[in-house]
Structures are given as C-alpha cells and as structure tokens.
C-alpha cells in the first residue's frame, strides 16, 4: 500500500497536532468499525478524511467529538490525553462538528435556532449581532431573522457552520459538506474554510469528492474497512490514485453507451403543475419532459427546488388531478396511484432511503414487498407468499451484492450504500420500462456508486427509460445523456451533455435561465 508521506514539505518542522487519535478501536458486536485508527489534525491545515461508506469515518468522527466512546486507544488534544464523555466535553475543548443532517427547527428563526444550541442565555438581539459579525468575517451569507423553514439547504448548512463558529472552535469537522451545494456555493464554502485555517484553526473535511479534496486539503487520511490505510498529500495524488486507496482496487468508470437507437417515449410530462403544501416544498410549474426508451435524462438542481415534489408527482404519491399530464408508456397516468403506475412497469427510487424507500424497523425481506406487492408474484389473493418473497429477497442480495450482518436484518441496520443497492436492485429486478431515481448515489461509497451507475446505464441499454434526479453535477455529467435543470419549481429543456458545461448548468441552477424564461412569459 501507499507509504505514509510526511506532512507539508514547505514547513521545516511540522506544527504540533491539535487533535490526535491514536490507535482508536471501536467494536459493535462482531463488527470492528474502527481497528486501531490513527489521525492527527494540525493547526492551520485542512485535513481530509476519505473512505467508502462503512469504512469507519462516522465512527471515528463520533469518537472524536464524544458521541461514541472508544473501546481502546487514545485521544490527545495539543499533545495531552483527553477523554470526551459526551459532545459537550468536546465542545468545551473547542471541537465543532457540522453533521450531514442538520438539527434545525423549521418554525424558528436563525437566531432562535442558534440560541437553542448555546450554553448561556443571552439576548436575541446581542446574539444576532454576534451572528452578523461572524457572517461578515467569514463570508457566510446568513440572515439572522429569517425562518429556517424558508432557507435553502446551502443556507441551512451555513447556519450550522455559524452556530459552530460562535463557540470559537479550534477544530471544525465538516461531514460531507458539499454534497448539498451548487458549484458556486461550494466555492464560497472553500473560501470560508481557507479563512478559518488562515486563523490557525484546523478543519477536518469529510468528502467523497476527490477533486475537492485535492484542491482544498493539505493532507488526507484514508480509511478502508475500519482500518487506517494511508496518510497522503492529496495535492500530489490523482483522483484515480486516491480512489484506489479508498476502494483497494481500480474504480471502473461508468461506460457511456450512446450507440444504441432511442425507442419510443416511455414518459411524457405535459404542463404538469402542482400546488405547494404550506411553506415547505416548491410547487411545480409547467413541467414538460419526454424520456425515450434507451436514454438517461438527468435533472440537476439545488435541493429544495421542487425535486421532491416532482418525484412524488411522478411516483403517484402526490396527485395533481390531470390524467393527461403524465403519460407512462402511452397510458395516461396522471390520476393513478403508485401501485397502478408500477403496473405500467414504472419503477421508483426515492431520495430518502430510511422511511421512504424502506421502512427502517421492518426486515429487509418485508421491505421487498413495498414495491413488488402488485406484481402478482409474492402476493396471491391478498395472502403473502413468504417463500416467493424470500427467494426474491435472496436474488436481490446476490445480484446486487447487498452486504449486512445476520440473515434478514431490519433495514435500519444496513449501511447507506448497501441499503441503496437493495433499493435499486428491488426496482431493477422488476424489469421496469421506466425507472425514476432520486439521488441514486447520495451518501453512497465510491464502489457502490459506480456499481449503481453502471446498473442504470445497463438498464438504459436494454431499452429502459431512466430519469435521474441528482445534486451531484459530476455524476450527471458522467453518465446521463441529457441534462435538465430544476429551479424554483420550473424545469429547463434537457440539453445533450456534450453541448453543455458545468458553468452553464451552474448558472441555470442559480435561476439565471428560469429568470429569463419568466421574463419572456411575462412579456407574452
């Protein structure tokens, strides 16, 4: 394996490690989540933590901030051994964490949310002033008196960061921060990170996006299978060599197959409108889309611009009323429910795996029933045929390499990547002619993500029409044929991938194109 590269060659003497983990081990039953893992974060550096899902990154981070206790090993802060019995103890030492899933209350304002997390009670006005100062200093755009429910995902993330920064942390841990951001928003986050490290703070940056890590970070610790693999200088590595360290083998790029002929339209969306429900979720405004057999269409956009509403309108979970607005395989489906749409051989994979695509507290085999009960195989006259169900379950597990402990665990127990393979496999084995996938590789490790993309590509080659909604622009550019952009409930016309660029899509994600389209409509 790769050798350990000494730290920044420009520094004659390495600065002292601010926070250091030495030989941390954590077991969950038979599973060793962390096996003698070491990591040292120095003041003033941006340190990447790389690894597949299930590599043990979250476990390591949780031990470093007091959410979990190590079975053995040691934590050191500025060279002295420390222990963090709970997150408050780590916060007191100046360790701040921004998790992937935000802990904010929609119904409260930014300043109220921040106040809730602070130990002492101070006036909201004074706090708002402190927020303004912090915002100004680090170039974070946050308005203290706005309701969190009205904020975009990127803005919510900035609220979390501000909340952390008000505690004046010496180490800031960012868990997959860019997975929800537009390219522009990511850029501004990077500028903030640079400002923070320039002040002598350390940032631990957890990401799957190797290009970002290579740009932003001075050092990277790679984990695989719960073990420390290497500490490298990512600036000296290629994305491919980093991926090799993470996965332990060459990651195959998804082959782009554009030679096959496109078939007839499998999905036609005509002037689809949907009212918003309350303050949350944008409405859909005049959505038009055609997907033909054999092609993959990608929908880019920042989270919260109507993608969820679009998915639910297409899956039949939210009905708009107009039967002709959605046509699946030449049958008007706008008024049909999910089961009836599946009977037209459509398959759906929602964004949220736990609670939407799968019931967390039900066994995997029972979760097979969720989307297959109408297919006439595992249910006869209303009675579940458990033998058939288990056979289907076994086939999904085998063909899609779903890994888990035990024979038939609850969905909650699976790692993100394995649950996603299960959810995708469940749909693919139904032999759909139309497959609609929301965030196919969100929070999924590189190997599983590659496998999922290859699977979707293969389905398209077989004549399936595939719609992929994703916030990962690189992913869409890599394996879709045409890309449309969703912004504030509107959808742009899909453009062939060859004829577009990151910049053009980024602009549309920010609403540039929608704005002009709206202007035209007003003029008409």
């Amino acid at each position: 394996m790769a050798d350990v590269v000494p730290s920044d060659p420009l520094a004659s003497e390495p600065p002292p490690a601010l926070l250091e983990a030495i030989g941390l081990t954590k077991r969950f039953g038979a599973l060793v989540a962390n096996d003698h893992v070491s990591l040292a974060i120095r003041a003033g550096e941006t340190h990447a933590l790389l690894g597949e899902n299930g590599a043990g990154k979250s476990t390591l981070v949780k031990m470093m901030c007091g959410l979990l206790q190590a079975d053995s090993g040691e934590l050191r802060f500025e060279g002295a051994p420390v222990s963090f019995p709970d997150p408050a103890a780590s916060r007191a030492r100046g360790i701040g964490v921004v998790f992937q899933h935000f802990a904010l209350f929609d119904a409260l304002t930014v300043v109220e949310n921040v106040a809730l997390g602070l130990p002492r009670h101070e006036g909201l006005a004074a706090l708002a002033a402190r927020i303004e100062a912090c915002v100004h200093r680090y170039g974070l755009q946050v308005e203290p008196y706005r309701l969190v429910g009205e904020l975009s995902v990127g803005e919510r993330q900035r609220v979390e960061i501000v909340r952390c920064l008000l505690g004046d942390p010496r180490v800031l841990i960012l868990d997959e921060p860019t997975s929800v951001l537009t390219p522009d928003e990511s850029e501004s986050l990077f500028r903030t990170v640079d400002l923070l490290t320039a002040e002598g703070r350390a940032v631990l940056f957890i990401s799957h996006k190797l290009d970002e890590v290579r740009r932003l970070c001075q050092r990277a610790t790679v984990l695989r299978g719960g073990k420390f693999i290497a500490e490298v200088d990512p600036r000296r590595e290629s994305a491919a060599s980093l991926a090799r360290l993470m996965v332990g083998a060459e990651v195959p790029r998804t082959p782009r197959i554009v030679t096959h002929e496109l078939g007839e339209p499998r999905l036609l969306v005509k002037n689809l409108n949907l009212k918003g429900d309350g303050s949350r979720g944008s409405a859909l405004i005049d959505i038009n889309l055609e997907i033909r057999a054999g092609e993959i269409i990608g929908i880019a956009g920042v989270a919260g611009n109507g993608q969820t509403a679009l998915f639910e309108a297409l899956s039949g979970e939210r009905l708009g009323g107009d039967a002709e607005a959605i046509v699946i395989d030449r049958t008007p489906a706008g008024a049909l429910g999910p089961t009836e749409r599946r009977a037209l051989r459509a398959g759906f994979v929602p964004e949220e795996r736990l609670g939407h695509a799968a019931a967390p507290d039900m066994r995997l085999s029972d979760n097979v029933l969720l989307t297959t009960h109408g297919d006439g195989r595992n249910v006869r006259h209303g009675v579940i045929r458990h033998s058939v169900l288990h056979a289907m379950f076994g086939e999904i597990v085998k063909r899609f390499d779903v890994r888990f402990g035990g024979r038939d665990p609850k969905a909650r127990r699976l790692s993100g990547g394995n649950l996603q393979k299960f959810v995708i496999g469940r749909e693919v084995l139904r032999e759909p002619v139309l497959l609609i996938v929301d965030q196919p590789t969100w929070g999924v490790d590189a190997a599983a993500a590659s496998f999922i993309r290859t699977t979707l590509r293969a389905k398209a080659a077989e004549g399936c029409a595939v719609l992929v909604i994703s916030q990962d622009l690189d992913e869409l550019l890599e394996f879709t044929d045409r890309i449309a952009v969703m912004c504030e409930g509107r959808l742009t016309a899909p453009v062939p991938v060859e004829e577009t660029s990151r910049e053009a899509i980024g602009l549309a994600m920010g609403g540039a194109e929608t704005a002009s389209a709206q202007g035209d409509a007003d003029a008409a």
Binding site: D86, A88, P119, R120, S315, G316, E317, G337, P338, T339, E340, R342, F348, P350, E352, G355, H356, A357, A358, A359, P360, D361, M362, D366, L369, L370, T371, H373, G374, V379, G382, V383, I384
Partner: protein, 358 residues
C-alpha cells in the same frame, strides 16, 4: 439533574418479551403496598384476589365470561394500534353495538321469529360498532382531529344515548319502572356452553376471531399495510397504500369487534339492555392489547390476566370489604407499568450535563 431519553439503536428482543412480565411484577409490588396501607395482610389479599378464583369450576367459567369481551375488543384495538391509530373509544363502540343488536331483539320480542334472530343481532352489533368507530376515523381523515380525543368523547355520547333508551322508549312497561328493557327471548340469547355456570358461545366466536386476526395481521397484504402504515407512513404511501383507507379500515374492524363484544354481552350474561352494561371493558381492553404486545395470541393470554383482576376484585369486595376501585387501581398500575417498561426497553435514560449551569 436533567434527564434525557435516548432511543436505543438495537432494542433487545429479550427485553421486549420480558417487559410485560416485569410490568406484572411491579404491579404486584405496588398492590402489596396498597394492601398494607389499607390494613390488609398482602399475602391473604393476594390469595383471595388471584389464587382462589382459579380454584373452582364456577369462577373459572366466570373468568372466561369476563375474558371474552376483553379479548374481542383487545384484538380489534391491536389493528388500530399497529397502524398507529389510537382508538380509545372502544367502550362507546361496545355500547352502540349492544344497542344496535338489541333493537332487533326488542323488535322481534314475543313474535314467532326463528333462530335467525341471534346471528342477525350479532351482525347488527358489529355494524353498529363499526359505524360508530368510523366517526373518529372520518374526523381524523377529513379534519385532522385527534382520534384519541374524539373517540374518547364519543364514549360518553354513547353511554348517555343508551341511558335515554332504557329509561325512555325501550323501557319494559311491566318492569316496575326499572330502567331496563324486557328480557330477551330465547332465540335472541347467546346459548350457554354447559348447563352449569354462565360460560356462553361468545368465547367460541372470540377464539375464531383470534385465529382470523392472527392470519390477517401476519400473513396478508392487508396486515402488512397496517403494520407498514404504523411503522413508516411515508414508505406506506410510497408502497401505494392509501393512509385514509387504512385509517377507516382499522377503525371499522376495531369498532366492529367492540360492537360484537357489546351485543354478545347483552344477549348473553346480561340478558337485557340496562343503563350499565360494562364494567369498563372497553378501557380495560386497551391494557389487554398493550400487555399482549398487540398480537392476538398475546391478547388471548392478557385478557385472562385482566379478567382475573375483575373476578378477584369481586371476591375481595365480598370477603375483605374492599371497594371495587381496587380493581381499577390494579388495572391502572398495570397499564402504567407496561408503558414504562416499554419505554425503558426502547430508550436509555442519560443524565445531561446541566445546560444552565455550564
């Protein structure tokens, strides 16, 4: 010192199984303290309460008589509770079922009506209970009203309605002004299983219901959709199960079984319609459902345990001159204990470092 409940990642199965037993043990300890406080010897009181009733054939039959309505109602409630729909108004559905069924008994009273009367009464009772159960379901689906409140409030409406009927239009004219209906004819009465005692055919119906409910909940798509709706509502919608239909369905089943229990009780052990036809079966069945882990076979066992508290309470009233409220205390303690045991199995209590004195 502030405390915080934290959800446990892996709930041990052994804990879930042990919870009801621990709850029973806690209830007995609390009961012993209560007996001591009342100046009774706890050992003696427990013997009268829980051991003696098991000793002779008559009280064993009584046990079955009391367990029958608890079992029927409890199994129905399991449908609701599995779907995360909290029907607290089974007592009202029981009363309305009894009233609907009794209407036929009174309408055919003294005529030459054949043996079809009793089956028709049972069907009417189930329909009445289901219709009454559908009211809170409708209010929830249509207006988002809490079914816990509406179903509970409807209990008192039903009880007052029954009161009006037996004091007014349905009163037995030859009954010396007592507020009760005529005694039902033989064709309108649930037959006894043995000549001696009061055990009647209702328990056979209840056992059939247990078998059917076990099958529906465990083996069918309907049962799966109920479970899924309660466990992960958004996943249930994604799977294509209509939340509203599940809500109506479980309330209809629950109401029907409560109504069936009501008419069986009136046409069986009681024999006519009176202002008071239940010692709180509809509420006690909630405890039976929870103690039985929302599984029909578990509820079969827990119904008998709770029936024992009724029988023991009657015995204690006679021999120890203890008020019937002692039974209520027992049942209430049991419910609190089982709910607490469930929380302690599923959650861990952690001390939170004081936020205020940081």
């Amino acid at each position: 010192m502030p405390l915080k409940l934290e959800r446990q990642e892996n709930v041990p199965l052994a804990g879930l199984i042990a919870a009801p037993f621990v709850a029973l043990a806690v209830t007995l300890v609390v009961g012993a303290v209560m007996f001591l406080a009342m100046g009774q010897d706890p050992v003696e009181a427990f013997r009268i309460y829980f051991i003696d009733p098991l000793g002779d054939a008559y009280t064993l039959q009584e046990l079955v008589v009391k367990a029958c309505p608890l079992l029927l109602i409890g199994v129905g409630l399991a449908f609701c509770y599995r779907a995360n729909r909290w029907n607290i108004g089974a007592e009202g559905q029981y009363v309305v079922g009894a009233v609907f069924g009794s209407w036929l008994a009174l309408a055919t009273h003294g005529t030459e009506a054949g043996p079809w009367v009793l089956p028709a009464m049972l069907v009417l009772g189930a329909l009445g209970g289901a219709a009454y159960g559908l009211i809170p379901a409708f209010l929830r689906v249509r207006f988002g009203a809490s079914e816990i409140l509406t179903s509970l409030m409807l209990v008192y409406v039903a009880q007052l309605g029954l009161d009006y009927l037996v004091r007014g239009p349905w009163r037995d004219p030859a009954g010396f002004n007592f507020p009760q209906s005529v005694t039902f004819d033989a064709v309108a009465t649930v037959p006894l299983l043995f000549e001696e005692g009061r055990m009647h055919a209702g328990i056979v119906i209840a056992l059939v219901v247990v078998v059917a409910a076990t099958f529906v909940l465990g083996r069918t798509l309907v049962g799966f959709s109920i479970e899924l709706g309660g466990s992960a509502p958004r996943a249930a919608a994604f799977a294509g199960f209509d939340e509203r239909r599940v809500t109506y369905g479980v309330f209809a089943v629950s109401g029907a079984l409560a109504g069936l229990a009501g008419i069986i009780e009136v046409a069986g052990p009681i024999g006519n319609l009176q202002p008071s036809i239940s010692p709180g079966y509809g509420f006690t069945a909630i405890i039976a459902a929870m103690l039985g882990r929302l599984h029909p076979v578990g509820i079969l066992v827990s119904s008998f345990i709770l029936a024992l508290t009724y029988i023991g309470g009657e015995a204690a009233q006679i021999s120890l001159r203890m008020p019937f409220d002692v039974t209520r205390v027992f049942q209430g303690t049991l419910l609190i204990a089982i709910l607490a045991a469930d929380v302690l199995v599923r959650y861990r209590i952690r001390r939170v470092e004081g936020v205020r004195h940081a």
